[in-house]
């Protein structure tokens, strides 16, 4: 027993000695910059937020906001009647590493369903959750269950482009309208499916729009495009690079991996270039450390990114480094009223695609309220739908794309 004790103390002593040695080292290096960090640490990140600035079209030109008018209220007039057990389905990643995105959509839809059920005693809608984990194979297993459930009149989802491609045939053949709030890969609507509707602008709109905005409005001559290896990041980077044309500098473009936290080489490449801005095509989990490491390395050029980064987590994780970042999104800003209702119901602030989840669920609910009782009716209703939502006007062309797709530009300030 005694010997063990001695061993342990020995180990601790070693650890302590090592620590002391380290701290001695730290003294020196810390010594030179004691004063210089003062200023930055005072401007805490607590007061930073992602603020909508302008709305642009595919040419990067500013478009005045017009949807501030009168969004459709899911509650309707409170006289809706429907069969008991009528439901809508939501499919997306509800567990796993990408769960946050699926939950944003689901929670947004829940707000709409809640408002509807509270107002319409004669029609109680349930929202059925189907978890795909964001995995295409899982989605092919889940899709038949959704189709097989006769009470489901419409589907909110699938959330990701990959799983949408893998299951589109299923919903198309079953005639089940599927309204996606987040799948932005341009190719999805080229499959001839009659039941797929995209509730936001695709990357082929966002890419050129943001690229033109950067060149024409912000006046950048040389932009480094950094992409992650996700479906989304690759697709967006392609569109952005094409949209930028000569302004895209190939010599400082870089590719990183989802899950990376260290961007030393990319930072190195960018800091040794004379670019005007960095565009990051990827998600906030990587964008935050990347933005921070760029600032740490003394790169002060603007950080531009898109909807994958447009999340409060980006600001909390990157802190002061996120200040001034320009974030685009096909998603509209969440109005205060909706944000309050969302937070009251779900215990967290709305995230990216929450408003789309709410808007698309609202479309399904108003359809049911208007007397739709089967999938064919719902398909018909959605196809001919034309109405305002929280984020934008919803009206689809015959491929399932929005007729007028606009992009929002946000800024962290």
């Amino acid at each position: 027993m005694q010997r063990t004790a001695r061993r342990t103390t020995g180990g601790l002593a070693l650890a302590l000695a090592a620590t002391l040695a380290i701290t001695a080292c730290g003294t020196q290096s810390q010594g030179d910059n004691g004063g210089s960090t003062e200023s930055s640490s005072e401007s805490g990140s607590a007061d930073l937020a992602i603020v909508p600035s302008v709305q642009i079209d595919i040419d990067g030109a500013e478009v005045p906001v017009e949807t501030s008018g009168d969004p459709v209220d899911p509650a309707g007039d409170g006289t809706a009647e429907c069969a008991e057990g009528t439901s809508i389905a939501m499919a997306g990643a509800l567990t796993g590493p990408n769960a946050a995105l699926g939950q944003n959509i689901l929670y947004g839809a829940k707000v709409a369903v809640d408002e509807f059920n509270a107002a319409n005693a004669g029609c109680q809608i349930t929202i059925k959750e189907f978890d795909t984990e964001g995995d295409p194979q899982k989605a092919t297993q889940v899709a038949p269950q959704i189709v097989g459930d006769a009470s489901v009149l419409a589907l909110l989802g699938p959330a990701f482009s990959g799983e949408t491609s893998a299951t589109g045939d299923v919903f198309s053949q079953a005639g089940l309208p599927s309204l996606s709030a987040s799948a932005t890969n341009p190719d999805i609507t080229k499959n001839g499916w009659k039941t797929f509707f995209r509730g936001l602008a695709n990357d082929a709109v966002q890419g050129p729009a943001v690229a033109k905005y950067m060149v024409d409005t912000l006046g950048y001559d040389k932009v480094c495009v950094v992409q992650d290896n996700s479906d989304y990041g690759v697709g967006l980077a392609t569109e952005i690079t094409a949209g930028l044309g000569d302004a895209a500098d190939d010599s400082c473009s870089a590719e990183v991996k989802v899950g990376d936290k260290d961007f030393a080489a990319a930072t190195q490449i960018i800091s040794s270039s004379d670019a005007d801005a960095v565009f990051y095509a990827g998600y906030y989990a990587e964008a935050a450390p990347f933005a921070q490491q760029l600032r740490d390395a003394g790169v002060e050029i603007p950080f531009v990114s898109a909807d994958g980064t447009n999340d409060p987590q980006f600001v909390t994780q990157a802190g002061a480094a996120s200040k001034g970042a320009i974030l685009s999104c096909p998603c509209g800003p969440a109005p205060d009223e909706f944000a309050a209702a969302y937070e009251a119901l779900n215990g967290q602030a709305p995230g990216v695609y929450s408003t789309e989840g709410y808007d698309l669920a609202t479309i399904m609910l108003t359809g049911i309220a208007s007397g739709v009782t089967d999938r064919a009716g719902m398909l018909d209703y959605v196809t001919n739908y034309d109405g305002e939502g929280l984020a934008r006007t919803y009206k689809w062309d015959d491929t399932g794309e929005l007729s007028s797709a606009l992009i929002w530009i946000y800024e962290v300030e």
């Binding site: 567990t95 295409p136 038949p144 990959g162 045939d169 479906d231």
Partner: protein
Amino acid sequence: MSTSTPAESNGAAGTNGAAQPVRPRPELPPAGQTPVRQRAHGGAGDRLRLWWDALARPAQWGIGVPFVVFIALLPILNIPVLTTVGTNFGAVMAQFGMYALIAIGLNVVVGQAGLLDLGYVGFYAIGAYTLAILTSPDSPWNVTQPEGWLSDDWAWLAILPVAVAITAMSGLVLGSPTLRLRGDYLAIVTLGFGEIVRLLADNLDEITGGGQGLKSVAYPRLGVTEELPNGVFSAGNVGSTLNSGVWWFWLSLVFIIISLMLVGNLERSRVGRAWVAIREDEDAAEIMGVPTFKFKLWAFVIGASIGGVSGAIYAGQVQFVIPTNFNIINSVLFLCAVVLGGQGNKLGVILGAFIIVYLPNFFLGRTSLFGIPIDGSEIANYKYLFFGVALMVLMIFRPQGLIPVRQKLLTYGRELYVAARRTLAKMSDGGPQAAYATSAPASGTVGTRSGGADGAATTERTGDDEPTDGRNR
């Protein structure tokens, strides 16, 4: 029944494949002549095994075929508790079919030849990507119509052998430099290989589509009707009980049976005996004249090709391949299936694959089980936690897996088992001295000794084998 503790049955296992000296067991006859009754594995499972092994071949067929048919019909029968709720049972069974194939292939490498492969997912990926690159319209090397010359109807079937050949070749390419490495080094190198394959798929985006993956991969277009313009295998075939998942499950069953026959025959041949020898003690095998490198390479190539078949089935069913589906976690899951079921045992690893695929899906979306309300989705969410705990517990209490492998006679087995059964029957009637298994013929390749000085005994020892119960190398 069992008189031996697990520790004893593990006793002969050296940490590095080097056989430790046989422990003295005074109550037992000399090595190789353990009485059936006192052997470590005398449980119900072994009685079943003995009974099965002793059956005549037609009788085995008579029982086996209906059993396989029953398994094949599982997704159609819709047995109440068994059927999954949140996901389609047919599609789950299809995934099980793929994992079962993988488990069989990985079992050749890990269970039979004793080579720890942590990068098996690489072969699965190569199989899937070969098919996708050659048949997806997104790929520059697409050979299907309209750009190419290959008709869409037959593309999957035509490319399948190509996929298998390329996967086998990749097994050769990986194996020839690395198989000279031993044990743990091999494990890390294969792990690196698995990652390299995934990263290549991710980085060579002009060919593989990179992170965007390859869409619209070919699949067999069979059973085209008015309602099913793309045939029974298309993802669009849903709704009825005979949905596409069931068809894919059946297709993979066919491949499972083919692989089982192939692997089973190999196991009983010179190759199989060489694998066992390598697994038990590579140095000894080398000294005894087994060309170990050649047979290790064989194991790698065969394992890889089976993985390639599974990958091709995956690409066909999902019609979409993307690098993230081929990460290390999957490699580890495959290994879990093999270890859980009982490495070295072909049927055991299939059970392992079933557990790995089925259990999370069983809980997904289930709100009550036998009347007890549960949050199944939450439970399914914790699957890796449960798999981890299961692996740890299993390794402590049953390291040989749920259905452990038993070393058995590789040649002239049936005659011996018949004799063994007779002995067993007589033992239960009369005394142990009543019968000796004397009918086992000696073969040229298998040195079978039977009989024992101090009691009824048959031996399952073959000339070049050590008993392997509990040994997992």
